[in-house]
């Protein structure tokens, strides 16, 4: 089954008199387990697309389906439920909860999902080990480097065993070495867990990791990659 399907999804931002068609009738299908890069110039609508896919926002028209379920009609609480269970987010800034340790940050989505104590511990520990941070569990975000924080964010995104992880320019604030380490980890976890990853990126090295590349310009897909896998 398709992990996510956009059908003629349109998102219009209105500021005063000015209307911006950030997304202009886009149709796109992402299969389960795909590792996809979303590329395009600044302002082409990548972030907007991820927000629709992540149920953070609703399209003005068209539909967004997650696992075949139309999510455009859900209310705020139902969308929160969906995000909690099915979607992991990684942001450009290292979006950890500052008052929680690395371990607690990874554990938080599990708590919210009602996972039992024992399993929470196993899963959070395993994920932090998988991102190479077994020795940083009790560190608060401000006690970790940017690269470490982003790896915690990767672990946290994967903790609820989501259907897909949405990453908006995850390497933009990292140096080359840390950026590659993060990409290596995500590529590996994609294979191990079968979780689909979608990256919005400008970074050619990130694009190099992708199995499939979706190109955007002015809120539309650049032809030839609307459906199906590239490889």
């Amino acid at each position: 089954m398709a992990a996510i399907e956009l059908e003629h999804a349109t998102k219009i931002y209105t500021i005063g008199e000015v209307e911006t068609r950030a997304l202009d009738g886009v149709s796109l299908t992402i299969e389960e387990g795909e590792f996809t890069a979303l590329v395009g110039p600044s302002g082409s609508g990548k972030t907007t697309m991820l927000q629709l896919m992540g149920c953070l926002d609703k399209p003005n028209s068209g539909t967004v389906k997650i696992n075949g379920q139309d999510v455009t009609r859900l209310n705020a609480n139902q969308r929160a439920d969906l995000r909690r269970e099915k979607i992991g987010f990684i942001f450009q800034f290292f979006a950890l909860v500052p008052v929680l340790s690395a371990y607690e940050n990874v554990e938080l989505p599990l708590l919210l999902n009602g996972v039992g104590a024992k399993e929470r511990k196993e899963r959070a520990t395993a994920l932090l080990e998988a991102v190479g941070l077994a020795d940083r569990m009790d560190h608060r975000p401000d006690q970790m480097s940017g690269g470490e924080q982003q790896r915690v964010a990767i672990a946290r995104a994967l903790a609820p065993r989501p259907l897909l992880v949405l990453a908006d320019e995850p390497t933009a604030n990292l140096d080359t070495a840390n950026g590659e380490q993060a990409m290596d980890i995500m590529a590996r976890l994609n294979k191990e867990t079968g979780t689909a990853f979608i990256f919005a990126t400008h970074d050619q090295r990130v694009v190099a990791y992708a199995q499939r590349i979706v190109k955007m310009r002015d809120g539309r897909l650049v032809d030839g990659n609307a459906n199906g896998s590239a490889k």
């Binding site: 926002d57 609480n77 439920d81 969906l82 995000r83 942001f91 500052p98 929680l100």
Partner: protein
């Protein structure tokens, strides 16, 4: 459990901006202290007022003829008690009773050659311990003595007004049961200032025997006044003294006017409390709203993780609760210390009492510490804090996740 984690997060979030948190604690603690102090002061004032009235004027219990009306100070024999001594002896035999004595009241006019003024005449037994408080108020001369023939005790203020002093002779006219005025010449033996205007401004004291003879009341009395060892025995003694044809009144009934004034007073003071609570509430709302603004992006992250508005709201309300609980704890302790201190040492008002002449409670105010009130005030403080926090918490919960994520 998720809730447990919310508490932890709320607690740690409070530690992030320690200075702001401490300032908020201080605001809550001081606000509560102020409210507790005011409450202690008001309770103390009203208690003192009531205590003074009971001590100097009404006693705990009075027995009067059923038909007696205080405002009329009637001297008609049917309005008086004719077996006052017998009643007094019955009451005195009760272990709860500390002092008991009959009193005869009359209205009269006190005059010198040039001045005159209307007064209430109280005929009292000079030997009775019941009138010790009045004896203590003696400022010049002596108390009534012996059978009190020809002696009169008047308020210092009254004496000043009439331009008389100890040893001077003064005229007193009273009505008798037939309404015919009886006049007599009396020697002022003493001047009193009890600090209680109801006594000092318009009262003169004769011995009971003297009052009975000038009014032609025989051995009748207007009332039998009783002081108890313990005010809490009032109802019990009132019940025990019930006699057909007589009314036995407890201190509540005797001080109905003061009691109602106290109740209205308390309602008025509640408005003052409310103002203080409101000030603290604004500070809390501000603190939390600032926290919400600062953490807008974090709220977006939490929302992205699937946290619901309700849960985000809960987190901020927990923060408010912690602030409120700890602030109130300090407030209770500080408030109790302050009220306790002033309940022992009093707040000295200098000679204001003499100047104003209206302070029934003397020149020092004593607070009253009512432990239950401490917790009642703290409870209300907490209710107010959590209630006003609903707004910032609701504001945080209502943030759209994308807008929250955009912030910065």
């Amino acid at each position: 459990m998720t809730f447990k984690k919310f508490w932890v997060m709320a607690y740690r979030d409070l530690l992030r901006n320690r200075r702001r948190t401490v300032i908020t604690f201080v605001a809550i603690a001081l606000g509560l202290t102020l409210v507790i102090f005011m409450n202690g002061l008001i309770t103390g004032m009203l208690d003192g007022m009531l205590r003074d009235t009971i001590r100097l004027d009404t006693g705990h219990i009075q027995i009067r003829a059923e038909s007696y009306e205080v405002v009329k100070t009637s001297l008609l024999w049917r309005d008086l008690i004719d077996n006052a001594d017998e009643l007094a002896a019955r009451a005195a035999a009760m272990p709860e009773v500390a002092a008991v004595s009959p009193i005869l009241w009359a209205s009269g006019v006190l005059g010198t050659a040039s001045e005159s003024t209307s007064v209430r005449v109280s005929g009292i037994d000079p030997a009775s311990a019941l009138f010790d408080p009045i004896r203590e108020g003696l400022r010049a001369g002596e108390f009534l003595s012996g059978n009190g023939r020809g002696q009169i005790l008047i308020g210092q203020r009254l004496a000043d007004e009439l331009g008389v002093g100890v040893g001077d002779r003064i005229n007193l006219a009273v009505g008798n049961p037939d309404g015919v005025p009886q006049e007599g010449q009396f020697t002022i033996v003493g001047l009193i200032n009890t600090g209680f205007p109801g006594i000092d401004n318009a009262n003169v004291f004769l011995s009971l025997a003297q009052a009975q003879s000038i009014t032609g009341s025989g051995n009748r009395a207007s009332t039998v006044r009783i002081m108890l060892h313990d005010i809490n025995d009032t109802d019990k003694v009132v019940a025990a003294l019930q006699t057909p044809g007589l009314t036995v009144m407890g201190w509540r009934q005797l001080n109905e006017f003061i009691m109602t004034t106290m109740e209205t007073g308390t309602a008025v003071y509640s408005i003052l409390y409310a103002i203080i609570f409101l000030v603290v509430a604004v500070i809390i709302a501000n603190t939390l709203l600032m926290a919400v603004f600062e953490r807008t992006r974090e709220i977006g992250i939490l929302a992205a993780l699937g946290m619901k508005g309700r849960q985000i709201m809960t987190m901020f309300l927990f923060e408010a609760t912690i602030l409120g609980l700890i602030g109130s704890l300090f407030g209770i302790i500080l408030g109790a210390i302050v009220v306790y201190y002033f309940s022992i040492n009093g707040i000295y008002f200098g000679d204001l009492g003499d100047v104003a002449g209206s302070l029934a409670f003397g020149t020092s105010l004593y607070t009253t510490l009512v432990p239950a009130n401490l917790f009642l005030m703290a409870f209300w403080m907490l209710v107010v804090i959590v209630t006003v926090s609903l707004y910032p918490a609701w504001y945080a919960a209502r943030l759209e996740p994308i807008e929250a994520l955009h912030a910065l």
